[in-house]
């Protein structure tokens, strides 16, 4: 006997301008089920969840609750029915305590709420101190607060958007325990992810999306990663060949007891970071964002000056006091994690965005811009790095995140740097483009460049790095040779279990 469907979507479509984000989607979620929505970046998962949660309204199709069609014009409508959502990027106020954050959404006296928070925490393994200030909490704890806040509204369906993407491996285990307990309590859970192994472990149903359409409706436990990948990206998961590995040469980037106080209360202080990066080598910095990653990147790039010139050495020269432009002149280049507004100016054309950092490549004469050279550089870049764009006079902001990332990466690689820093190279990039980016980095390494990669994606780091460090709470782990280290070892550093 099949369980009855609680939430049913039939023929739901949503279009944004020229982009068909969702096309004729059917989905039914049953009580007591953990239902995966699987798809890569841009497949339409987030749009679908926004429709269910009432953030957006479908152009076509119906959403039914217990068989009755409903119209959800705002999130409070969805909450009233019993739909709760935990967003990928948390919506908590850092300056408030846990119970204060909860009381913003949940009616009731603070004292009662605090009691309920502790009670729910004990019941579902979501331990968190109700009086703690949110900015003191770890990412995993913040996620628990979000989940508790949803649970206090007594939802029947809980939506989790990429909940594991920000968690260290050990916290993922705890989250799964919680979700299984909720499931056995009869709740329906919509679990959005692009990670195949997780879904095979946790979920009993999966709806697979590709390009806004449903390409599969399966029981993930009965399929292997290979066939799920086929449905998700239309082919096998791409694999990287390690490439010909050159012997590492001279040290090109060195951090020597790099310490830096945090700039704001919510920043992270860095303490005594030591690192040495050689030519022909890729070193990865693992760890969850917010543990000093942004501060470290800015200190290496020169956007923040170090307190002492000797703390950062580029090409054997003390560079801690130099600005970004002077560091670039030493042979350094940098791909930042924010593509819009930092790595590029969205309102400017691609060709003007080349000028941002590549102006030293003969694009200026007496301070005046040589358009011919600027344009041919840009054309070469979009061709060599497969940037999908109608032309070089298109504004950078009109490109998709993945294409813009390829452009920025291409621009920085074309500067032929001796040392390169890449932060979150494949955030929000589809699998095909991500593989292309990783291949490029490996090729650069084989040609003798020294590359430092800061990433939250452990799989990615293991794929391309020779050595890993873990950055946690402003402290850097000792170097871990990637070949002799397991994800679990790295995870131990990520949660501070290993020192």
């Amino acid at each position: 006997m099949r369980k009855p469907a609680l939430l049913t979507l039939s023929g739901v479509s949503k279009r944004y301008g020229k982009i068909q984000a969702n096309k004729q989607i059917d989905l039914s979620v049953k009580l007591g089920s953990i239902h995966a929505v699987l798809g890569e970046n841009g497949a339409g998962k987030s749009t679908l969840m926004k429709l269910i949660y009432g953030v957006e309204q479908p152009d076509e199709g119906t959403i039914a609750w217990n068989g009755t069609p409903v119209s959800l014009s705002r999130p409070s409508d969805a909450q009233a029915l019993g739909i709760g959502m935990v967003f990928q990027h948390f919506s908590l106020f850092e300056t408030l305590s846990v119970v204060q954050n909860v009381s913003l959404l949940v009616p009731g006296k603070s004292a009662d709420l605090a009691g309920k928070i502790t009670e729910l925490g004990a019941q579902f393994g979501l331990t968190v101190d109700p009086q703690a200030m949110v900015h003191t909490l770890s990412v995993g704890e913040r996620q628990r607060v979000e989940i508790i806040r949803c649970l206090l509204l007594n939802p029947k369906v809980l939506i989790l958007d990429e909940p594991t993407s920000v968690l260290p491996p050990q916290s993922v285990r705890m989250l799964f325990e919680t979700l299984k307990r909720l499931q056995s309590n009869g709740m329906a859970i919509l679990f959005i992810s692009h990670k195949l192994e997780e879904i095979r472990e946790l979920c009993d149903e999966a709806t697979i999306l590709r390009n806004g359409e449903v390409t599969g409706r399966v029981d993930p436990r009965e399929h292997d990663a290979h066939s799920l990948a086929q449905m998700m990206i239309g082919r096998d998961m791409p694999h990287l060949s390690p490439g010909t590995h050159a012997t590492p040469g001279e040290v090109r980037l060195a951090l020597k007891d790099l310490s830096h106080p945090r700039a704001t209360r919510f920043g992270t202080s860095l303490e005594n970071l030591n690192l040495s990066l050689r030519s022909g080598e890729i070193i990865g910095i693992a760890g969850i964002s917010g543990n000093g990653q942004q501060e470290l990147a800015a200190l290496i790039s020169g956007e923040t000056a170090a307190q002492d010139a000797g703390m950062v050495e580029i090409m054997g020269r003390p560079a801690g006091h130099l600005g970004p432009l002077e560091r670039r002149n030493l042979g350094f280049s940098f791909v930042p994690e924010e593509r819009r507004g930092r790595g590029s100016v969205p309102e400017m054309t691609l060709s003007d965005n080349s000028l941002l950092t590549a102006h030293s490549r003969g694009m200026l004469r007496g301070g005046f811009i040589r358009r011919q050279i600027e344009r041919s550089f840009t054309r070469d870049c979009i061709e060599a790095f497969d940037v999908r764009t109608p032309g070089i006079d298109v504004e950078a902001g009109a490109l998709s995140g993945g294409n813009l990332q390829k452009f920025i990466l291409g621009r920085e690689i074309m500067l032929a740097p001796d040392v390169m820093l890449v932060a979150q190279p494949t955030w929000g990039v589809d699998i095909g483009a991500a593989t292309a980016i990783r291949l490029r980095l490996l090729k650069m390494r084989d040609q003798g460049a020294a590359i430092l990669v800061i990433s939250e994606e452990l799989e990615e780091l293991f794929e391309i790095c020779d050595t890993l460090h873990v950055l946690r709470a402003g402290h850097l782990s000792p170097p871990l040779p990637a070949a002799q280290t397991s994800a679990k070892d790295v995870g131990a550093y990520m949660i501070g279990a290993a020192a």
């Binding site: 956007e303 600005g323 970004p324 507004g341 100016v345 969205p346 902001g397 009109a398």
Partner: protein, 356 residues
């Protein structure tokens, strides 16, 4: 009805041209209602305001006369505005420019100073620039908002002007009026069009426009300023020095306003008097934005606002329009322009299901 603004992928060039025109139409329509409510013959008022400046050679030359300072100041300000450096104290820099230029004819009233006019213009330019750079220093050193500092410096400039005109610089034979001696002939700008008051400061303004165009569209300095304005973090990422761009922006704005101030006393006024502070520095802010902060657009908008000044004068006489109504008209024009400006980046979408 459900109307939404949807962000455009690419700024619309069509809307860029249409926005000021639409703003002018909306302003005229609103003024018609407003004037009618005031019991003023609205048709006559608009005719005087918009058309009469172009109907006689004399009034047209007066439009050109007023265009010169507006255009010059606005070109200077727009460069800073593109970099998000909001110098709104051009009025003060204009006054200081006028004062610095006046020092020469005041101390050499017989005109026996060599190179009188070039010295006045250069001194006026330096005065305006240094005055604006006070704000740059306070901003880069202490993080003081240049908006407040430049605005307050304007009040100080007015008091300096008052002090000089009531004290040391007062014309001894001027019947105690707060004004300096009339300047000697060699302290006056040559007239550009015979029989009018239009002088060569219009040439200064047009040259400044060409320079502004070259700098903002084709020079790396202008590129850095635009980057700093559009995406400050991208400017930091690329290593463009923000303090340097702040100094540069304020220097250019102050320099242009200073030249305009010098040209005003060496031009139509022929002496330093209180009425030198007529609000060109503030009007130029409107001019700069109405021209889309674009050097070519500013040529058009400075001409338009100048025509409104002349038209406003004639409307107060012929249609009995209150003086304040001209300010209201200008204010509405800027307000409507900022509204219609949205259309460049956004398009209006009316939900489909409403039509069904």
């Amino acid at each position: 009805m459900k109307v939404r603004l949807v962000r455009r992928d690419i700024a619309s060039r069509y809307a860029m041209l249409a926005a000021p025109v639409l703003a002018l139409i909306l302003t005229c329509l609103t003024s018609l209602i407003l004037f009618a409510a005031l019991g003023i013959p609205a048709g006559e008022a608009l005719y005087a305001l918009l058309l009469r400046p172009f109907l006689s050679w004399y009034s047209f030359s007066e439009v050109l006369l007023k265009t010169a300072p507006l255009l010059l100041i606005a070109q200077g300000l727009a460069i800073g505005f593109r970099a998000n450096v909001f110098n709104i104290g051009a009025e003060g820099q204009f006054i200081i420019g006028a004062i610095c230029a006046s020092a020469f004819p005041v101390y050499f009233p017989n005109g026996d100073f060599p190179m009188m006019l070039p010295a006045m213009i250069i001194f006026g330019a330096i005065g305006g620039m240094v005055y604006a750079l006070i704000a740059a220093g306070l901003r880069t050193r202490f993080g003081a908002s240049e908006i407040l500092v430049t605005l307050m410096l304007t009040l100080i400039a007015i008091q300096i002007l008052n002090y000089l005109l009531l004290g040391p610089w007062k014309d001894p034979r001027g019947f105690n009026f707060p004004q300096t001696v009339m300047f000697p002939f060699n302290a006056l700008l040559p007239i550009l069009i015979e029989g009018t008051r239009t002088n060569i400061s219009l040439i200064f303004a047009l040259v400044a426009s060409v320079l502004a165009y070259l700098m903002m569209q084709h020079h790396f300095g202008g590129y850095q300023l635009r980057t700093a304005g559009l995406a400050p973090r991208a400017a930091l990422y690329a290593g463009f020095s923000t303090p340097r761009l702040i100094w540069l922006s304020l220097a250019i704005g102050g320099l242009a306003a200073g030249i305009a101030g010098a040209s005003e006393v060496a031009g139509p006024l022929g002496q330093l008097q209180r009425s030198v502070a007529t609000g060109y520095g503030y009007a130029a802010i409107i001019v700069a934005y109405l021209g889309g902060l674009n050097p070519i657009g500013i040529i058009v908008s400075s001409f338009l606002i100048s025509a409104l000044y002349i038209g406003g004068d004639s409307a107060t006489v012929s249609a009995g329009l209150p003086v304040a109504a001209v300010d209201v008209f200008q204010g509405m024009l800027l307000g409507f322009y900022l509204l219609t400006f949205t259309l460049i980046r956004y398009r209006v979408e009316i939900d489909r299901w409403m039509e069904a």
